[in-house]
């Protein structure tokens, strides 16, 4: 029996990718008759003396980006593997299914997207439950660690802790990896560095929130780093979806009346899409600390409130590269050119 998996090897994308990142489709795990943890162990063994971050993906489920946009597909398990080893206490993390509740829709208005035809009835995975976090209760991060590798924020930031390298993959990029589409790879740059901090409040979110709601609401900044927010992640490489993909998913939120700064995060990408699409932005609800960060990358209230031509949905998507700021020295790759499909002996 063989287990199929995808891997973006260290050195891919003209040397930009600093460490191995493997992705396993839940369907392939089930076909091989394995548990998610067993499948990660199989990948670890297949890599011999190498190391990798591993994401287990359920492509029939949904997840939520940090700024509150629902995405197709979900990370349902993460692992760090090194020399075939997975740390027994911290090396694997199951990401819990979160059941639907009316209370969630009330407390987390961005989750109204779940009720749309795009996502209705699909299983939701974001962050781990208290039970799935296990003995991580004193820890801050939703992270796995084994040997040299850390896999953080439920599989969106992975690191080699010895070489001290890191790469990010916003979820839409991971979806492209799994579906063989296209990705853009480059440095996150100041705009993405700021955008990552503009989160929404959730229970059991990918990054924030446990049994209680995360304390950073739409319009706030989790970075809260003033003018330094644009530097905190600007130098890390990132694997992102093409901007027209990001636009499509974000417009679905704007189409149902979700308002940046009130219901969904005030990231530069979301704000610029809303402006181009002529949708309301709750500038009054964006916190002063968030404005400092936005203004540091040129997103001012004056700019957002200035008159501009309102584009149609089609025009926004067609012009997404011009509308959405962010990423530096970015280059578009066919996933087939940076990602290998391998088969590991079970």
């Amino acid at each position: 029996m063989k287990l199929k998996y995808r891997i973006i090897p260290k050195g891919a994308a003209d040397g930009t990718v600093p460490l191995n990142w493997a992705f396993i489709d839940k369907k392939d795990i089930l076909e091989a008759g394995l548990t998610d943890l067993e499948a990660c162990k199989v990948i670890g063994k297949d890599l011999g003396e190498d190391c990798a971050a591993v994401n287990v993906m359920d492509m029939d489920a949904i997840t939520v980006t940090s700024d509150g946009i629902i995405a197709n597909g979900a990370v349902v398990g993460v692992a760090s593997v090194d020399h075939g080893m997975i740390n027994p206490s911290y090396g694997y993390l199951n990401i819990s299914e979160i059941p639907y509740s009316d209370q969630m829709i009330q407390e987390e208005p961005h989750m109204r997207l779940w009720l749309t035809d795009f996502y209705k009835g699909k299983k939701l995975f974001r962050g781990p439950s208290r039970a799935d976090r296990g003995n991580r209760s004193p820890n801050n991060e939703n992270m796995t660690m084994s040997g040299r590798i850390a896999n953080n924020n439920c599989g969106s930031e992975v690191m080699n802790m010895v070489e001290m390298t890191e790469i990010l993959a916003p979820f839409f990029g991971q979806y492209e990896i799994m579906t063989g589409g296209e990705v853009i790879i480059g440095l996150a740059g100041p705009v993405v560095s700021v955008g990552i901090g503009m989160v929404v409040s959730e229970r059991h979110g990918r990054v924030f929130g446990g049994d209680n709601l995360g304390s950073y609401r739409a319009g706030m900044t989790a970075h809260n780093s003033g003018i330094y927010a644009k530097t905190v992640k600007q130098d890390y490489p990132a694997i992102a979806a093409p901007k027209n993909v990001l636009a499509e998913y974000t417009l679905r939120a704007l189409d149902i009346g979700l308002i940046p700064g009130r219901h969904i995060g005030s990231s530069p990408a979301v704000l610029c899409l809303a402006k181009a699409y002529g949708k309301e932005i709750d500038c009054d609800n964006i916190a002063s600390r968030a404005w400092i960060e936005l203004e540091s990358v040129g997103i001012t209230r004056e700019f957002l409130e200035s008159p501009s031509k309102v584009m149609t949905r089609e025009e926004v998507i067609a012009n997404a590269d011009k509308i959405i700021p962010g990423m530096e020295d970015a280059k578009k790759y066919a996933v087939a050119d940076i990602c290998e499909i391998r088969y590991a002996e079970v």
Binding site: P138, N140, M145, V162
Partner: protein
């Protein structure tokens, strides 16, 4: 009660003595607590470690013992103390902040090792 926990300097003395008990020529090093200047260590674990160091030196192939103390939980939480010092050297103001540090796990010490005897307890496996 004074024997319940061992002084840090005594720990260093004891484990080096254990490494050299069978053969004074056995090499020895200890690392991992360089930033810890004063501490008390659980005495029963000190005794176990001494005994285990003695045990590992019974293998004639082993010429040196390296003792590494690494955090069991690789994500350690720190408090950052930002001190504002006045001209006379006194501290006028402090800002406290959290810092989370993720470090390589114990597996980095196990690469290529033929025999790993895990005697830790209360570790989820």
């Amino acid at each position: 009660m004074k024997f319940m926990h061992t002084r840090l300097p005594d720990f260093y003395t004891k484990i080096e003595a254990a490494a050299k008990k069978r053969n004074p020529e056995t090499g020895f090093s200890v690392s991992g607590l360089e930033n810890v200047k004063t501490a008390k260590l659980a005495s029963l674990r000190v005794g176990r470690v001494e005994d285990e160091i003695s045990e590992i030196t019974e293998d004639d192939d082993i010429k040196k013992v390296e003792v590494v103390l690494t955090t069991d939980n690789p994500e350690t939480l720190y408090t950052v103390v930002i001190k504002g010092i006045q001209e006379d050297g006194t501290c006028k103001k402090v800002i406290l902040e959290n810092m989370m540090l993720s470090a390589p796990t114990v597996e980095t010490h196990l690469f290529g090792v033929k025999e790993v005897i895990d005697r830790r307890t209360n570790i989820k496996k």
